[in-house]
């Protein structure tokens, strides 16, 4: 019984193995981002795009391996709330940048 419980806990709350997998991937992604910036091997625009992609991938890795997000029915409402938040933040940041950029151009402040 104790074993069954442990095995189940391992599945639903993460195991040492899954934490270590997530950790190794996260370390590689972080190192890649710092490495790209420190090496100056790409153009500035290319580097910005690359580290932004690395950050998004790392956020997903953390969500899956550390916060144990998945597509199971138990998680449906968690994932829905998260999706709504991501959408809100995207509108918030995208909208702010769009409006402030337009304002700067129309006011000729740049």
């Amino acid at each position: 019984m104790a074993d069954a419980h442990t095995a189940h806990s391992g599945e639903s709350h993460g195991s040492v193995g899954s934490y270590l997998t997530g950790f190794v991937i996260a370390v590689l992604l972080t190192a890649a981002a710092f490495g790209l910036v420190m090496a100056h091997s790409f153009s500035p625009a290319g580097t910005i795009a690359a580290i932004a992609v690395l950050a998004v991938v790392q956020v997903v890795v953390h969500l899956v391996f550390f916060l144990h997000m998945n597509g199971s029915s138990a998680q449906r409402w968690n994932v829905m709330a998260f999706a709504f938040t991501v959408m809100s933040v995207a509108i918030l940041i995208g909208g702010t940048l769009f409006i402030m950029h337009d304002t700067a151009i129309n006011m000729m402040s740049r």
Partner: protein, 201 residues
């Protein structure tokens, strides 16, 4: 067999109707996400408004940021190991992992405060330029969250001392703090990428 079934059923019940406490805390984290989203939007608008003051390139020390990142990343899995011990009811091991996480968090906070006080001492505090105002607000808010997480962790370590079995209530508290702690690590990914690294490019 019947015994196993009850365990499975109880556990399945536990999984499919995740504690409302944990779900409620998840919703709180989503609102916290909006706060950080707002602060990131402000920083994105202000990031070039130096008012003749120093730029991020002149101010930021990437090796320090790298160490802070490493500390926070390691503290994420040490807390994860603590949660695994908690699920196995190994309370001594759990407290040990929480203590390790606590010390790592303290180390992170120490480095951040040192960085901030250096900047303020050199006259590059939040009052220097719009860029620095938004920088201190964003990174400072994250630091404040880490401080709250550390206080919470200390309280849970004290509350679990002398216990041999974790109550469901205690387990919920540990799970909520685990979500909080991992969430802060996610925010930090965005901080080091969009604040530090992008300012240095």
């Amino acid at each position: 067999m019947a015994h196993d079934m009850t365990v499975d059923a109880a556990h399945a019940h536990d999984e499919h109707h995740e504690s409302p406490v944990v779900f409620g805390f998840w919703l709180y984290l989503m609102t916290d996400c909006l706060i950080f989203g707002t602060l990131f939007a402000v920083f994105a608008v202000m990031r070039n408004q130096f008012a003749g003051g120093p730029t991020g390139k002149e101010l930021f020390d990437l090796s320090g940021v790298g160490i802070e990142t490493a500390i926070l990343l390691v503290s994420s899995i040490t807390y994860g190991f603590g949660m695994i011990s908690a699920h196995q009811n190994k309370l001594g091991t759990m407290r040990m992992w929480l203590a390790v996480t606590f010390l790592l968090g303290l180390g992170f906070l120490f480095m951040e405060i040192r960085e901030f006080s250096h900047m303020v001492a050199e006259g590059n505090g939040p009052d220097r330029s719009a860029f620095l105002s938004s920088f201190f607000t964003l990174v400072g808010t994250h630091g404040l969250h880490v401080t709250c997480g550390l206080l919470w962790m200390a309280v849970l370590m004290v509350q679990s001392t002398g216990k041999t079995v974790l109550s469901e209530r205690m387990m919920n508290k540990l799970t909520c703090l685990s979500l909080f702690w991992h969430f802060l690590d996610i925010v930090w990914i965005c901080v080091f990428t969009f604040v530090y690294l992008m300012s240095v490019i």
